[in-house]
């Protein structure tokens, strides 16, 4: 069934939408909900006692969003540790400040890239955690992304951390790689210039490691 589902996704994507990395999607679907629980102020973000995990997507990626929802539900069985959760699928046109969300996960919006900053601003104002499928969106104000290199690497845009409403456990901050807007801008330029993605990542990694050493 899984195979059929992902085959379907692939076909749809080939036909209409963005071509997602299945491994990255799964990794993000497994790890991002757990990161919500690493926020010491999770209690403030509960809505009706539940964690609302809102997935924001482009209409062309609706099936991808559905498949992620299904994967999460299958993986976590309706509970994140002691909390119940609910997955809310919202297309970016419908996403507003009023949209219920304890955390948001933004799929690829390359066609509407200018909207990402708006989504990020809303998330900041709401004081919720934001995850991005695409690491480049961190430069727009989203908080976390995950990349699979030699190993799985979590990236965190450090400027987005400066909010009083989010307080992560220290260990998380020890293990993530921080990234700042400059690298993202550079990546953005590269992106628009349609440079090779591997080179981009290599460049980011170099910057991150240099930063890490500092």
């Amino acid at each position: 069934m899984k195979k059929i589902f992902f085959l379907y996704l692939t076909l749809i994507n080939i036909a209409f939408g963005y071509n997602y990395d299945d491994l990255v999607l799964k990794a993000q679907a497994s790890i991002f909900p757990k990161i919500i629980l690493l926020d010491k102020k999770i209690e403030d973000k509960l809505i009706d006692g539940k964690i609302i995990y809102t997935i924001i997507y482009d209409k062309t990626d609706h099936h991808t969003a559905l498949s992620i929802e299904e994967f999460i539900n299958k993986n976590f069985q309706g509970n994140l540790d002691k909390y119940q959760y609910k997955i809310n699928l919202v297309s970016f046109e419908n996403f507003s400040y009023k949209t219920e969300a304890s955390a948001i996960y933004v799929l690829n919006l390359k066609k509407h890239i200018e909207q990402i900053a708006t989504i990020a601003t809303i998330a900041k104002r709401k004081g919720i955690i934001s995850f991005s499928y695409d690491i480049n969106n961190l430069s727009k104000g989203l908080m976390f992304s995950l990349v699979i290199e030699k190993s799985t690497v979590l990236y965190l845009e450090k400027e987005n951390l400066y909010t009083k409403k989010i307080d992560f456990v220290d260990a998380l901050l020890q293990m993530v790689r921080f990234i700042d807007k400059d690298y993202a801008t550079q990546e953005e330029i590269l992106y628009y210039n349609k440079l090779d993605k591997k080179k981009l990542y290599a460049s980011i990694r170099h910057s991150v490691f240099s930063n890490h050493k500092e």
């Binding site: 497994s30 690493l38 030699k150 190993s151 456990v169 220290d170 260990a171 020890q174 293990m175």
Partner: protein, 647 residues
Amino acid sequence: MNKKIKSLSRKIVLLIAIVTLSSVLLIFNLFEKINKEAFYNIEMEKAKLVLSTIEPLIAVNIYLNLNDRIDQVTKQLITNPNILSIKVIQENKIINERKSEEFENNIDDSFIVENDIFQPNSQKKIGTLILTYSNKNYKELINTYTTLLIKVLFLFGIVFLLFSLYVKKLLSPLRKIAKLLQGYSPDKNIIIPFDNQNNEIGFISNALNNMQHSIAQYAKQQQNINKFLEEKVDEKTLELRKQLYTNALTGLPNRRSLLRDINNNDKGALLIINIDDFKEINDFFGQAAGDSVLISFSKKLSNMIIKKDNVTLTHLSGDEFALFFIKKPSKDEFIQFTTNLLANVEKMIFRHENNELTLRVTIGGSFRVQEALEKADIALKSAKKKGKDFLLYDETLNVEQQYKNNMEWTKKINWAIENDRIHAFFQPIFDNKTNKLVSSECLIRLIDSDNNIITPYHFLTIAKKSKLYSKLTKIMIQKSCQYFEHLDCDFSINLSVEDVLNKEITEYISYSINKYNVSKKIVFELLETEGIENYEEVSSFINEMKSLGCRIAIDDFGSGYSNFEYLLQLNIDYIKIDGSLIKNLDIDKNAQIVVETIVSFAKKLNIIVIAEYVHNEAIYKKVKELNIDRSQGFFLAEPQDNITLNS
């Protein structure tokens, strides 16, 4: 003086060294223990710190299932040379384990710490983290510390060695001073160095030099004093010597002087002159009068012998003087001198106030110088006893042997009493009509160490003198009463007037009679003569015993001047005719008449008559013929240690 000198400096240093080293070792040991523990805790804390530092990171990675990230963390951790291994366990499965190259070499003494892994932002345990931390640092710390300790101790040792040498050097003058002083005497002047030192040694040297000067002066004074004292001592010695050999009252030589003269003489003779009843003069006229008489008497005696060069007068004690003949006169001259002396003394008149006093003396003499004092004393006592004014010691009497004999017998009696060797023997008394045994006389016997049976003839008189007699009487009473307690036979015990007069004995008799219930069987035999001499006391005793149911016999009746009137009053039951009347009864007509009279008298008074000393058949027949009731004697039965009734 050859005593080995012990070094004070060495002793001081040794003592300080022992005390200090003990303290230092104690402190070092304490510190070592504390430090080792501290080092151990430090390393342990380090290990725990490492573990607690990485635990949250590992926890997040486990939580997020980022196992490759865990691997990165442990890989990075193992680069630390102190970390030998790291093990991550999740749900009892090792999910990650890394070991350093040194792990196998150091595992034995390394620190192993374990920490639970909790889910971040939760208290849920999600795994365990085990860290093996190297003990290399710990060992290095300990080694460094031990090396330091040894170095300090070594340094300490050197400091002490130097210190001891310094102390020895400081105190070396004392040893030199001591050596100099060994040859010191008050007439020598020893120059002690070091007096210029401005320390204790200098003070001691100065003090010793001053002391020498003082001692020399003092010694001179002492020599003068000693000379004076020696002269005084010589004078006093002469005076004391004189006092030692002189009587203080009369100024005559004393007993000690006499003994010295006797011992220094081979031939000589001695007279001891004792003033009779001199005590009466003291009591009547007073001590001063007595002393005055003694002084006058001594002067008169001195005057009597003033012409005799070979006679010395000695004042032995208060009323006793002695004349020692250094050259022995003939026996006749000796006796004649004594006779004249006695006559002259009788003529002597002593005046006290308005009274005229005369003296009588008793003289004991010894014509031999060997043990002259003792022999003259024996002669004196003998003369006093016999009421004679002079007796010369008779060598043939062998009085010393008698004294010795008495002492030996006293010892034997004592031994016999202590060892239960005083026994009661029983001589049967038979009825002359029925020829049956009717009574037994209890006779004392001493069994000596050779089991010889000794009759009282040998020891009873001595026992009386040595105050053992009452003990013997008690033994006889106790043993006789006990023997006859269960025998249906009368028995008699001899009592002397001393026994009767002794309250302790009479009480003991009453006690024994009651104890053994023999009042109806017992007969007390009393001597006829003694009974008359102490009539009142004897009469009282007889009445007391009769009241208890006892009977009384008069023993040896007819041996003295028998007083029938007294006998009548004494209420006696038996008369035992004296053996002197019985032993020749068969042939002695006078004895027969006396015995007949006694028997006749006794029959009229219902007194039973017993003949003792029946030693042959003729006597026995005569006894029966004379109508004597009972007989006792060797012809019938000898005394035995037990009796056979119906014999």
